[in-house]
Amino acid sequence: MRINISRKNINDSFVAKIQELSGQNLLACYQCGKCSAGCPAVSDMDLLPNQIIRYAQLGLKEELLNSKSIWVCASCMTCNVRCPRGIKIAEVIEAIRQILLRKRKDHIDPERLPQDIRCQVPPIALISSFRKFTS
């Protein structure tokens, strides 16, 4: 895959917004890959957690906003407790989700969930899913 790195992207307000919403210093990451090594969700991800941080450092906005990974992460916090630099990766991923959700780009539509799912899953699942995946 070809990636264009530009000063314009790196200085884009998108990067600042991620840092502001997540409360994290993206440049603290030195790409050791420990987050991705322990992540239980990597087999379903297109961008691995360490790549998400690298892409965020470089301001690769479209790639991040269109990635499948941000909707696969269930904020289990395994990456956060293992990061040797103390970066809260789950918070960075939540910030990217929030940037989309604040434009009302929801990941799921509660009304379109299959009937059996709606009837079967406990309230704790529905509420957390709506909290994470809808605006």
Partner: protein, 292 residues
């Protein structure tokens, strides 16, 4: 000892077996439990972005209700409620401005929150306030010969500052099971995420994780798996049906709330243990060990 108890939404629905067994066990241990009045949903997940104060309102309102009980601490059994309440509490304790904004938003509340309520998970009460040694002595029907793997999942142990045990190698459930006379089975997937709320939009991911987690426990000799979270319980228990469809060789294994085995060892009546609500029937294995 008297406790103010916050049930949360799922213990009044799919997880009645969690609530009823837990409350019965506490009564057997001589604890008086009073359900919090006018409680509301905690929101289930802690908002991770810095500016999203509105989602901390629900958990902080629960803490206001606790103050009005009146009490200075509240106990919950659900791992997700515990995490959300405790993280929201720590958030406002560290940020007076956020606390003040939240109090302003809840201007109709007569009580102001000042960070002055403690949140305990039931496991902390059992370990620190009652003591596993006392529980061992009171366990008149020990779980002799039952091989139990303890699954901790995420929210009971992560993040580090909120978790009630080591986030990488927690022991608290295993210690409880050992005090009840069970044979404890350690397994490497005990803190691996089950997929949580992905069960709503992608049950297949959860079925795959269920397969991996439970296979690991079974291969190491577990006969049952205990959990402390109603969402883990739902996923690991009912998604075994989907796991079987994906992996026909998969062997099912009963999932129990830790409170159900606690209640069993304390000789609570079967109508309080509610084994009928567990999806994979735990009765055959418990009968084979003469535990029911």
């Amino acid at each position: 000892m008297k406790l103010i108890y916050y049930p949360g939404c799922t213990l009044k629905n799919q997880a009645k077996n969690f609530e009823e067994s837990g409350l019965c066990a506490l009564t057997k241990l001589g604890v008086e439990v009073q359900e919090l009045e006018r409680w509301n949903c905690c929101g289930t997940v802690f908002s991770l972005v810095t500016d999203d104060l509105i989602h901390h309102l629900a958990p902080i309102r629960v803490l206001i209700r606790t103050k009005e009980a009146p009490a200075d601490s509240v106990m919950t059994m659900c791992a997700m409620c515990f995490n959300t309440l405790k993280r929201a509490n720590e958030r406002v304790r560290a940020d007076q401005e956020a606390l003040s904004t939240l109090n302003d938003l809840m201007y109709e509340e007569e009580t102001k929150y000042q960070g002055d309520v403690e949140i305990y998970h039931l496991l902390e009460i059992l370990k620190d306030k009652i003591g596993f040694e006392t529980i061992k002595q009171k366990a008149t029907h020990p779980l002799q010969g039952l091989k139990v793997a303890s699954y901790y999942g995420c929210y009971l142990v992560r993040p580090r500052e909120i978790g009630i045990d080591d986030p990488e190698n927690p022991q608290i459930l295993d210690e409880l099971m050992a005090s009840l006379g069970a044979t404890v089975i350690d397994f490497p997937y005990k803190t691996e995420c089950c997929g949580a709320y992905k069960t709503v939009d992608n049950p297949e991911i959860v079925a795959e994780r269920t397969y991996q987690i439970l296979n690991s426990a079974r291969e190491l000799g577990a006969e049952v798996v205990v959990v402390s979270c109603p969402l883990c319980a739902f996923n690991l228990d009912t998604r075994q049906k989907e796991a079987l469809k994906l992996f026909p060789e998969f062997q099912t294994i009963p999932i129990l709330y830790f409170t159900q085995l606690l209640a069993l060892a304390l000789n609570c009546p079967e109508e309080k243990i509610r084994l009928d609500l567990n999806y994979i029937d735990p009765k055959p294995i418990l009968k084979s060990k003469a535990l029911i």
